[in-house]
């Protein structure tokens, strides 16, 4: 059984954009057979929560030097480059 991956999904208030992003990631991972748990948080909480995450997907600027890969998630809202971002996320979770 593959180990569950933790994806930290960050946005400004942890209410709106992170909800959409988390859902999209969950659906794609399910389709790919990747066990994943998403956790929504505010940008300010990222540095602390990052240590338990395999990947950070964010629609707000966050520090890049956290030792965890960071993917920008704006594509989930605008649609621009969404497939490429999903591919990148899958690749990073598999790697």
């Amino acid at each position: 059984m593959a180990q569950e991956k933790v994806v930290l999904v960050a946005c400004g208030t942890a209410i709106a954009t992170s909800t959409v992003v988390a859902k999209a990631i969950e659906e794609r991972c399910k389709a790919e057979g990747i066990p994943v748990r998403t956790r929504q948080c505010k940008a300010a909480e990222v540095p602390v929560l990052a240590r338990d995450a395999d990947l950070i997907v964010t629609t707000t600027p966050v520090p890049k030097d956290l030792g965890v890969p960071v993917v920008q998630g704006l594509a989930f809202l605008t649609g621009i480059g969404k497939d490429a971002v999903l591919d990148e996320i899958v690749e990073k979770l598999r790697g």
Binding site: T13, A14, A16, T59, T60, P61, L77, T78, I80
Partner: protein, 157 residues
């Protein structure tokens, strides 16, 4: 269709002529306050949030959008407010706060529970990804037309 359920006709402004993003947020926020959906302090909090964590979104088509919203503590019940602007106003880019985004469509979100509004949020994201629908919204002359367009929205894939 979740968007029309939360969007009261009085919370729709078509062809709003606003001087800047502050004016739009104030107008929409005050309307939600009047409708009882949000508490005192909502407008100020939303303006403060926008200043530190902007919500401008550059989209695929001709028009860009912004999604001002704020913490749940200012919300009485979930609601949306929407404005189409006669001329674009500047919001800053959500992922790059130094970058200006000229915005013509503003959708204000008053949410009280993130996970229970997933479908509605997905519908909004879906809407943002359909430039032809946004074009139609921008050409609407009255709130009833806006609601009609939103009711006809296909469910996002």
């Amino acid at each position: 269709m979740k968007i029309p359920e939360l969007l009261h006709p009085e919370a729709i402004f078509v062809n709003l002529d606003a001087a800047d993003s502050t004016a739009v947020i104030t107008e929409l926020g005050n309307r939600l306050l009047k409708l009882g959906a949000v508490k005192e302090g909502f407008v100020e909090a939303t303006l403060a949030r926008e200043a530190s964590m902007p919500t401008g979104l550059p989209l695929m088509g001709e028009f860009n959008a912004a999604l001002p919203h704020v913490d749940i503590e200012y919300v009485n019940r979930p609601a949306l407010a929407l404005a189409t602007l006669t001329r674009p106003v500047i919001f800053k880019n959500m992922v790059n706060p130094d970058e200006d985004v000229p915005v013509s469509l503003v959708i204000m979100l008053a949410l009280d529970q993130p996970k229970s509004q997933v479908e509605m949020l997905q519908e909004i994201a879906g809407l943002l990804q359909q430039p032809d629908v946004i074009d139609k919204l921008m050409r609407a002359d009255e709130p009833a037309q806006v609601l009609q367009i939103l009711e006809g929205l296909a469910t996002p894939t």
